[in-house]
């Protein structure tokens, strides 16, 4: 048998071998992914705390388990703009989340631009597992809300995020904001600790989770979740709102 004839079967083997290897790796990767998805807890933080809200990472697009029906959230949600506007932009935000702080400036411009044609609702979605001061900040905003100044505190918190985000004890900082926006300091301090305040935050969080919110900020326009690209791009965000206004005939 000549050298060429001997080499022929080997060449045929080499021809198919790379595809066998690639197929094998593809199957192994899919099996590994399925194994990890079905594993009860391969990560670290699927625990829930017994306090005011869950430490669990909210499961966006999670295939495991049915999603809860849409929850209403805290009653009389905080909003700016037109109470009866045809388009509602609902934000799920975390006061300590840096991208939420970035979005704050964009949303202010959007609110100024649309005025009463748009209702901008803010819902608390504090991610406690990664933002240790997020829940207390949400309490501060809700406590200010009890004196009719939710959005003044909301703006203070976002605009001065760096000042309090890593503070081991941020409450005195919130108190200083309260006095700057003219709140009754004693009432503010007492309201911050009220159970009703925590319950409002929890209700908003539960609503977000029921809608599949998986990160902050997440925006909904008339109930439709916006892609990240539209959330952070003012022009795209305007296009989404314009489209919703057009659909509503405004």
């Amino acid at each position: 048998m000549s050298r060429k004839q001997k080499a022929a079967p080997k060449q045929a083997q080499n021809r198919y071998l790379p595809f066998v290897i690639i197929g094998g790796v593809l199957v192994a990767a899919l099996v590994a992914a399925l194994f990890l998805l079905r594993s009860p807890d391969s990560g670290s933080a699927n625990n829930t705390s017994g306090s005011n809200t869950s430490n669990t990472r909210p499961a966006s697009n999670a295939p495991a388990g049915p999603r809860r029906p849409e929850q209403p959230g805290a009653p009389n949600p905080h909003f700016r703009g037109g109470a009866t506007a045809a388009v509602t932009l609902e934000e799920f935000g975390d006061f300590q989340c840096p991208p939420c702080g970035q979005l704050h400036g964009t949303l202010k411009k959007i609110e100024d631009y649309y005025g009463d044609r748009l209702k901008v609702v803010f819902r608390n979605y504090p991610l406690q597992s990664i933002h240790k001061n997020a829940f207390s900040a949400a309490r501060a905003a809700e406590a200010a809300g009890l004196q009719g100044k939710f959005f003044q505190m909301h703006d203070m918190l976002f605009e001065n995020q760096k000042e309090w985000e890593n503070s081991p004890e941020p409450r005195p900082i919130y108190a200083s904001y309260a006095s700057r926006i003219g709140l009754n300091a004693e009432k503010f301090k007492a309201d911050m600790e009220r159970q009703e305040v925590a319950e409002r935050i929890q209700a908003d969080f539960t609503r977000g989770t029921s809608l599949g919110v998986g990160s902050t900020p997440t925006l909904f326009v008339n109930g439709r979740v916006l892609p990240v690209a539209s959330t952070f791009d003012e022009q795209k965000l305007r296009a989404e709102i314009d489209s919703a206004l057009a659909a509503a005939g405004r």
């Binding site: 080499n14 690639i22 790796v25 670290s44 933080a45 990472r57 295939p63 990664i130 990160s215």
Partner: protein, 156 residues
């Protein structure tokens, strides 16, 4: 056997060694990206080692593609494609090499952008993202390394 043929054979052997190394490195990236994709889809936090900003990075909007798909899934697809091209190149499919180089260049550019986002936008780092950055950088170095002997051979 002529000297030219021997040189070409040695050059091809070296090239295949680079391809094999690229394939192995891409497997590490694939494992990393598959883990992150699965954890994201299961709605779980990941075990964060060395640094402490994994959740901050992985729960940011930058970790999610339009439609809610995890960015890590795109990474897994890229690493699997890189692995496949490296294997094909290793087995003599010459057309796979330029495609692998192009893919690695795109992945490296994406890595630089994601490192910038972690450092300056989110101000937090994720162990798995840093591992992915190291893998992509190694792939880029291997792609460059593979070209050097070929250039020498051409010069000779």
């Amino acid at each position: 056997m002529s000297d030219d043929y021997a040189e070409a054979t040695v050059g091809a052997g070296r090239g295949r060694l680079w391809d094999a190394l690229s394939g192995l490195v891409a497997l590490v990236g694939l494992a990393d990206a598959v883990y992150l994709t699965a954890e994201h889809m299961a709605g779980r936090s990941v075990v964060c080692m060395v640094v402490s900003g994994c959740d901050k990075v992985l729960m940011s909007p930058y970790a999610t593609l339009p439609g809610g798909y995890p960015l890590a899934a795109l990474g897994a697809l890229a690493y699997f494609t890189a692995f496949s091209l490296a294997v094909l190149a290793c087995f003599g499919y010459e057309r796979a090499r330029p495609l692998l180089d192009l893919l690695v260049a795109l992945m490296f550019a994406s890595t630089l952008w994601l490192l910038y986002v972690q450092a300056f936008v989110l101000e937090a780092f994720c162990t798995y993202c840093l591992l992915s950055a190291a893998v992509t950088t190694t792939l880029a170095v291997l792609a460059l390394g593979r070209r050097l002997p070929g250039r020498k051979a051409r010069l000779q």
